[in-house]
Every structure is written in C-alpha cells, then in structure tokens.
C-alpha cells in the first residue's frame, strides 16, 4: 500500500495582475509528492516552476485551490494557518541555487541557526549540526566560514541546514545549476539518500537535463499548467 502524499496540491491557481496585464503563473495544478521520493519540477523559464515552489513553501499565496502539507490542510481558498514561518521552520527545508549560507556564520552555525530558530538550545543545535555535517561528510569544515568553503562543501552545508529540523518536505531551487554533471549527480544522490532515510519528499526545481533521469518522478510545467508527468518506473 502506498504511503499518503506529503505534499498534496489540488487545482492550485495563481495569477499576477488584472485585466490586460494579467499573467496566469499557475493554472489548476494538481499533483502529489510521496515521502522517500525525489521529484523534479521542470519547464522553460516562466512556466511557473518557482511560483509553484513558492506556493508549496508557503511564501506565496495562491488565488484558489487546496494545499495540504504532511497531512495538514494549509490552504483552502485562504491560508488556514497564521504562523506560516513556523510551519516552514518545522516542516520544510530549503536548498538554494547559490546556497544562501549566512556569510557571518560558520558552517556549523549556519546549520544550527535553523534548529535554534525552532527553539533548540545552542548546545543542542551544535550537536545536531555536527551530526548532520558528519552525515553529509563535511564535518572537517565545521568551523569554516562560507567564503572558505568550496561550492560542493557549501552545498552540503546548505543541505545540512535544510535537514536541521528533520522536515518532511525539502524544496530545492536549481541546486545543481552551477555544478558539472558528476557533481550534480552526487548532489541528487545525496538528496535521494536524505529522502529515503528521512522519509522526506524532495522537490527539485531544475532546468538541468543531465539530471532528469535521476528523479523518481518529474512534473513538467508549461505556461503555468501541468503539461505532463513522468515516473522512473514508467
């Protein structure tokens, strides 16, 4: 029996502007993402990938539809929770194209900050950061500042930060854009490992054709609408 989806999107629409300037960024998008899977969101520029990621990340309010995250109804014509930042903190991990490590914190502090924001003590957060950095094999660079990290090391630290609060949903925005195919493959395999071992749903927005075959499932968007979906098994 298949597990319940971690991300359930039903008929989500989002438009910007009104009248002749109206742009439909998302049109009736419906999709499910299951735990333990790495899903790709692909499509040309302006197809609505990032808008969809923002909606799932509770950063952008859609105009209609329903959104359920980890079994909790989050949006149903309006936000059902006021503390969306808390929701993001507890349930969603973010990985960015340019890592977005805080330049004034070292590697372990960058990971620990997410745990501290969730209410953990500094000592506990440091221990959690050390555990995650060891898990991602970058523990030797714990005290390095972001400017001292290589691209690959910074990406691992960013992934560690995304995992700090053990989220069930990980949203990654073009995480392999700046990497060659070998390193891109390593990052996706790392995300797969995270997805499987943490039973998380990993959603990756990407243009990167060289990693398409590494996803469990791919949703293809065009002009804000779901154009097609492809499963590895199919």
């Amino acid at each position: 029996m298949q597990a319940s989806p971690v991300v359930e999107i039903r008929n989500i629409s989002k438009h910007f502007g009104e009248g002749p300037t109206r742009i439909d960024a998302l049109r009736d998008v419906t999709l499910d993402v299951y735990p333990g899977t790495v899903v790709g969101l692909r499509g040309p520029s302006g197809s609505g990938k990032t808008t969809l990621l923002n909606v799932i990340g509770c950063i952008l309010e859609p105009n209609s539809g329903k959104l359920t995250l980890n079994g909790e109804k989050v949006y149903d014509g309006r936000w059902l929770r006021h503390d969306l930042r808390r929701l993001r903190l507890e349930k969603i991990g973010f990985i960015f194209q340019s890592h977005n490590l805080l330049p004034f914190l070292n590697a372990w502090e960058n990971v620990a900050i997410a745990h501290i924001l969730a209410g953990a003590s500094t000592a506990k957060a440091k221990s959690r950061a050390a555990e995650l950095l060891t898990y991602l094999q970058v523990e030797r660079r714990m005290d390095a500042m972001p400017s001292q990290l290589s691209g690959g090391e910074a990406q691992r630290v960013a992934i560690a930060r995304a995992l700090a609060n053990d989220p069930r949903i990980i949203l990654a925005d073009e995480p392999t854009a700046a990497l060659d195919s070998q390193r891109a493959g390593i990052v996706i395999e790392m995300l797969r490992k995270v997805a499987v071992e943490h039973q998380a749903a990993v959603i990756v927005v990407t243009h990167d054709q060289k990693i398409f075959d590494r996803f469990d499932h791919i949703f293809s968007l065009r002009d804000g609408a779901l154009e097609g979906e492809y499963s590895k098994a199919a």
Binding site: N100, L102, F104
Partner: protein
C-alpha cells in the same frame, strides 16, 4: 546565538571605524556640555566666592556683572549702618589687559577692602593681602607665581598669594588687589587728562572714590529678601539677593552661550543619528539576502528586528563609552574649564540609546519589507 554580534564580528573593521568616528562626535557633544557646565561654574564661581547674601548696586541696574554699576565710595558705610547687617564690603571689578613677559594677559581685577567681604577666598598658596597698596592675589590660571611682579595700568603689583579655579564669566583669571588700587586702576585718569578736566571745570576735582557694588552679609535670622526691599526704598540703590545675582548671571551672561551650545549639541546629535541611521541602513542592505534567507527558513520578524536594533545599540554604546573615555583623557587640554558631571553623561547615555533606536528605524523598515521569496532569486 547572537546574530547581531556574529555580523559585527564579520564586519569588524567597518563597524569599529564607524564607532571611532561616532565616538569623536559624542566626545564633542560631551565637551560642549562640559564647556557649558564650565561656563556656569566659572561665572558663578566669583559670585559664590564673595560669600555675600545681598549685592547692593547702582539704582535701576542689575550690576555689577550683567550691567555697569557705579556707586559712591561711602555707600558701604551707609549700608553697614542698616539694621540686620553683619558685614559689608565694597568691591570694584574691571577687566584689564596687561603686557607681561612678552605676552598679553587678560585678567579680571577685583578690588576689595582688606579683611572685609569681597576679598580673596581660599588662598591655596602664599598669604592674604596685608599692605594697602601694590599687593595682589592671582589665580593660578594667570600663570603668575608667588613674588612675581606685574604691571597693571600705571602701577606694579607683587603677587603675594594664589587662588585656584577662580575666573570671571569671560574665563579671565581673577586677580585681587586692594579697593584703593582697583579704584585707581579703574577710575583715576591720566595726569594729562586730569589737568585738562581741571582747566575745563575750575574748582572741580575728579574723585576716584567710586565702587561697583557693596557686598552684604546679614545677621542670622534676617531675611535677605526683606533687606533687599528695604534697600530698594533708596532710589539711587538697587539690591539683589545672592540667588538673584546667580540667576541674573545664568540668564543674562550665560543664556546666549547656553543656547549656542545647546543648538550645536543638538546638531551634533542629529548628525550622529543620521550617521548611525545610514550605517545601519547600509549594513541592512548588505544583509538583504541573508535576511530573506532567515525569513524563508522561518525566522520571526522579532529576531530580524532584534538583529538590527542590537547592532545600532552596540554601535551607540561602544561609541559613547569610547567618547567618554576620550573626553576624560583630553579634557585638561581645553583652554577653558570643562566640567564633566555624571548626570550629564547619564542623560547623554539615554539620548544615545534613543538616537540608536530612532536611527535603526530605517534599517528595520527595510528589513521588514524584504520578501522571503527573494532568497530564491539567483
């Protein structure tokens, strides 16, 4: 984990450089307040040193500091004969410029009667004036030493005693001489002028027995205000209590300086606010992406606002204490007296905190407007 301190550490050079600049500004603010306090202490020092309860001056004036006041030399005898008077002394004040040891010295010459009210108060070195002519007690600020001779007008005086921190409201060191010497210095005309006056008004002789005020100390239980009212009945005389004399000096003599210094201090505080505001604003702009990321991963606004306000406060506090230390190090080098009082420093401390909060408002506004989604943009 304190994000504000981490960010300061990351940009330590720029932060400290800003603090140094700001501390110099706050140092000047403290100096301004110190100069104002010094003005008050200096201006009131002479009034307080006189130890008089009532000042009798020329009728219709508020002399002798705020306005010119001339009284006949025998006024003291008339006043001393009044009921309730314990002691009275005639005084004459005059600003004098003297060439001495190749330098021009400005002095406030005070003429007082020996062993009467108005003579030099605490003498820190030497002795009081004992001879009726040509002896002087000078303030250390005049740069004179015991036994040194200085020419004032047509007479040469020997310094027999020294006082400390006694200057006039203009900052000129005080020199005490006998009343007779002071009268000669102030009122006696040159021989040629005297001859001319005598020729123009045959029979008339110019009198130099003129004084500026009579200082009065009352018997215990006598109300100075009632005494002042009694004196006011003499149409050619006016009287002021010690408190009134201090008020006259504070309002008339120091008021303009107070307003000037107050305005300058306000401008400096505005400049400090603008500097803190701009620095915090640019520091916030530099952190736009970091703030967007923090918001995206779930940091509450309070945490981000705290980051900015703490940085502004840290900047203000460091600058304040560096400025305070700096002014305490250099205050002795100021040509005029600087009086640094703890309550003034405490008030400035409060003002700096307020200024920091005000200055951080712009940065806070920018930070709150940052869209978390911008963290996702390349």
């Amino acid at each position: 984990m304190n994000l504000a301190l981490k960010d300061i550490k990351h940009n330590l050079g720029r932060f400290l450089l800003t603090c140094v600049g700001l501390s110099l500004l706050l140092c000047i603010v403290l100096a301004m307040v110190g100069i104002y306090r010094g003005l008050i202490v200096e201006a009131l020092g002479l009034v307080r040193a006189a130890q008089a309860q009532v000042w009798v001056v020329e009728g219709g004036t508020r002399g002798p500091f705020a306005e010119a006041s001339r009284l006949p030399g025998d006024t003291r005898e008339a006043i001393a004969a009044q009921w309730g008077v314990a002691a009275a002394g005639s005084v004459a004040y005059q600003n004098v410029e003297a060439h001495h040891r190749g330098q021009m010295k400005r002095l406030l010459v005070v003429g007082a009667e020996i062993a009467r009210l108005g003579e030099a108060p605490t003498i820190v070195e030497g002795r009081p004036i004992l001879r009726s002519r040509y002896e002087a007690i000078a303030d250390r600020g005049a740069g004179l030493v015991l036994g040194e001779q200085i020419k004032l007008g047509r007479d040469t005086f020997t310094v027999v005693g020294l006082t400390e921190n006694l200057v006039g409201s203009g900052g000129d060191p005080v020199m005490f001489v006998t009343l007779r010497d002071a009268q000669r210095l102030q009122f006696a005309v040159e021989p040629a002028a005297a001859r001319r006056d005598a020729a123009r008004t045959p029979g008339a002789t110019a009198s130099s027995d003129t004084i500026n005020a009579v200082l009065v100390r009352l018997l215990p239980g006598v109300d100075p205000k009632q005494f002042v009212q009694a004196i006011a009945r003499w149409k050619h005389l006016s009287a002021l209590t010690h408190e009134e004399q201090e008020t006259v000096l504070s309002r008339s003599v120091i008021e303009r300086a107070r307003r000037q210094i107050g305005l300058f201090t306000s401008l400096l505080l505005i400049v400090s606010t603008v500097i803190i505001g701009l620095i915090i604003y640019t520091m916030t702009l530099d952190k736009k992406k970091a703030i967007a990321t923090l918001k995206l991963i779930g940091a509450p606004d309070s945490r981000i606002v705290g980051l900015i306000i703490q940085q502004a406060l840290a900047m203000g506090l460091i600058s304040f204490f560096v400025g305070l230390g700096f002014i305490h190090t250099i205050y002795g080098y100021f040509p005029r007296r600087l009086v640094l009082e703890s309550p003034d420093a405490a008030i400035l401390f409060g003002v700096v905190l307020l200024v920091c909060l005000l200055a951080s408002a712009l940065g806070v506004r920018v930070a709150l407007k940052i869209d978390p989604a911008s963290a996702l943009a390349g």
